[in-house]
Amino acid sequence: MATERPGVGSPREVPILRVENLAISYETRYGEVTAVRDVSFEIGRGETLGIVGESGCGKSTVAFGIVNFLGRNGRIVSGRILFQGQDLVGRSERELRRLRGDRIAMVYQDPMQALNPSLRIGDQMAEVLIVHRRMKKDEAEERCIRMLERVYMPDPANVMRRYPHQLSGGQQQRVVIAMALLNDPALLIMDEPSTALDVTVEAAVLDLINDLQEEFDTAIMYISHNLGVIARVSDKVAVMYAGEVVERAAAEEIFLHPSHPYTLGLMRCVPRLGMEKASSYLHPIRGRVPPPNRLPPGCVFEPRCDFARPECAERRPPLKRLTDGHWVRCFFADEVASKGQEALAARWRKEATVHEPQREPTETILTVQDARVYYSVPARRLFSREKPVVKAVDGVSFHVPKQRTLGIVGESGCGKSTLVRAIIGLEKLSGGGMEFMGFDISVPVSKRDLDLIRNIQMVFQNPDATLNPSFTVGFQIARPLRRFRAVPKDRVKDEVIRLLNLMKLDASYYDRLPRQLSGGEKQRVAIARAIAARPELVLCDEPVSALDVSVQAAVLNLLLEVQRELGTTMLFIAHDLSVVRFFCDDIAVMYLGQIVEIGPAEAIYAPPYHPYTEALLSAVPIPDPTAEQRQIRLSGSVPSALNPPSGCRFHTRCPRREWLPDGGRICEVEPPPWQADTEEHRILCHIPLEQLRRMEAVVSEEVRDAG
């Protein structure tokens, strides 16, 4: 029976979860603050509702509100939560306890935190069955093992006896998911379950969630800040902003026809895989999410909205129905929807302000030759002769031409941050050499001369740690000016203010302390501090990954501007391949301390690929449910750098090994050679180039033209 047949429509179904006009408030020292208001949505059996929004938008509050687990100071003010037809609001703690973990299960962000560090995995899992189903211990364990098998956990019986810290992050998250599904819940709430994981692990977890949903027919409420992830898992999407659902529709509908300015803004401010700075532009959303105790009187998004008119500031727009199942809380949804189409298309168009890429060869500013950074770690056994060595960076070579940007991508632990720290001199080289503008920089920073130090500066990842909380913004930007005597003493303050202005911050920031700044502002100050002494080379270590998406764009744009105006060369580390692709001229892909592929950005994102690059690209969540992306999943987790695999370091996880004769025996034995695709594009692999060239592009999504 090869033919496809439409299923017989089932009778009208009661949704598993139906939330009506939910409002939740918290008792704080500023009085009662409403964190969530007027939230409605429903999730049917086997359906996934994605809830997306920036941090502080009330997504998690809704999740905890559903199981009425709001802590001592939170309460549901109004609304109904119908779970399988019955209202959960006002249920006794005892009744709720019986539902939790049985019919409603939750999975949230950090699996390490979610598991009890001092209990074995088996005990933690089995007790769900023992408590709810009064199962015998060995029977419960039997079931747990079967469930672990279903989440593709290798060696489940062994895992049962382990403690959480003995598992990798991806495995922990599988355990948490398995634990949630043990009692076959009707509703599964997942709060950023993949955010703490690496891209390839995240992709595997998302696949798993899809598989399990089909098998268990569970209704899933999936919370994430990442549009790409939401696009991959959701059937329906609700966009939350400042405690309200501002738009809600089927997934495709919302991604193709965003009709709320905030939804549109979110889509325009993240680069899509394939966008590059030469041909596109990111549109940041100005301002920041208002704190729940200081909401604007009218539309919550009005202060940040490009479509706002006077009436938006006066009254709150109602939720209105655009098409069937598409609801928007905006007065001008139709206008936004039509303009949105143009706007989305426009981001692909070349804008006048975007600079021409410089492709003519320029002089090389930084050369890294066979750099190695090894750490010795304490021996595991008491009396062992050899000290184990972690080869964090192992034989990395590249060069960066002046005024270009080299991006370095790879998953956590691949050595990209170590490499950058070695360049700036915070890490001692164990071997190899580095040269910067003709000077040897293979020595630590304390042995470099002041001028050399001045010329290499760095922007760090975590905005909350990048500024010293004890000193004012002005003092901190001025410090490099003073130290490197970049400007005369009496002009330091003027210079600081000039830098602030360059960062689109006004002079009033001079006297502020870091805690008075938002994440994006902190990061701008950090950039100002880095460029204050006019360095030739700026190293950016994940400068935007800790920021909310709407702020990321502004910071990326600023970095681009800096580079354009000052002609700075940059090294840009990130794990987000879309951002790297957007921002960088050249890209190096790192795996376990080595570069496996390097070349111009567009060459990296098109075949031939290194098999690892191919897997990375296929794992990137793309914020477009219609995009076609091949599924290439890596098995296992990244091996330990303490004892890296022999031969090709990627051979333990390589999905393309079988292309080689006898299943790639050679990969296990011999280190792979560099193969040059073009003069600049090189791949470290045993598979012959001709064969690599025959690979299909991972993402076949073509740039959609609205015109």
Partner: protein, 217 residues
């Protein structure tokens, strides 16, 4: 084609402490005819149907109006439900037709699907009818032929051979003993993408077979 594939997962369920009044409202609101009553961990405690919610008038006879109201408001599901040991249930790995037979045999319209006494779903007559409709590809335009043949081994194969000899694909195939004609078998075949006439021509040549009914469906 097992029960687990056709049952409704995560059915609406009720607590044994739910009042009968509330249950009646709940079932009406959500258009339910059967409501499994479960305890902690979804353990099956009983089953409530619309009939069980109808209160035995004999019991009320001796009560006055106020007493009746009071009696009704205190009545909970655990007082009226069919207790678990009397409920006919089915396991998830049972073939659908077995479930159907069970339902026919016990004259019930619904079977809670239980796995070690835990309710994991519910299968009702509607689900089974849906299954039947699907099996016979109801609603898909095709030629539907009913052929009567002797109830002898190899007869159905002849029919199938005849169809495939023409290079046609079978959309659905079903069979049952011919009504009121012992020793014979009626087979229904649905074939897509051809004219009724061609089918009749092709199948009427099969020896010993008689076309009982043919139509475009």
């Amino acid at each position: 084609m097992l029960v687990r594939d056709y049952m409704t997962r995560h059915p609406l369920m009720a607590d044994p402490d739910m009042s009968v009044v509330e249950a009646r409202r709940f079932m009406g609101e959500n258009n339910l005819r059967h409501l499994p009553v479960v305890g902690e961990g979804k353990r099956l405690l009983g089953l409530v149907t619309r009939q069980t919610l109808l209160v035995d008038p004999g019991r009320l006879g001796s009560l006055n109006v106020w007493e009746i109201a009071d009696y009704l408001s205190r009545l909970t599901l655990k007082d009226v439900m069919v207790p678990a040991d009397e409920v006919i249930t089915v396991g998830p790995d049972v073939p659908v037709e077995e479930a159907a037979r069970t339902m026919v045999e016990h004259r019930v319209g619904c079977l809670p699907v239980v796995d070690e006494n835990i309710v994991i779903g519910i299968i009702t007559e509607v689900d089974l009818l849906a299954h039947l409709a699907e099996m016979m590809a109801a609603g898909v335009p095709a030629v539907r032929v009913t052929v009567r043949m002797p109830d002898v081994r190899g007869e159905l194969a002849k029919l199938v051979t005849a169809v495939s000899a023409q290079g046609w694909g079978i959309l659905a195939l079903g069979g049952a003993p011919a009504p009121r004609k012992p020793g014979y078998w009626d087979a229904v075949v649905k074939i897509r993408g051809i004219a009724q006439k061609e089918v009749v021509t092709a199948l009427s040549q099969v020896e010993g077979h008689e076309i009982v009914d043919v139509r475009e469906a």
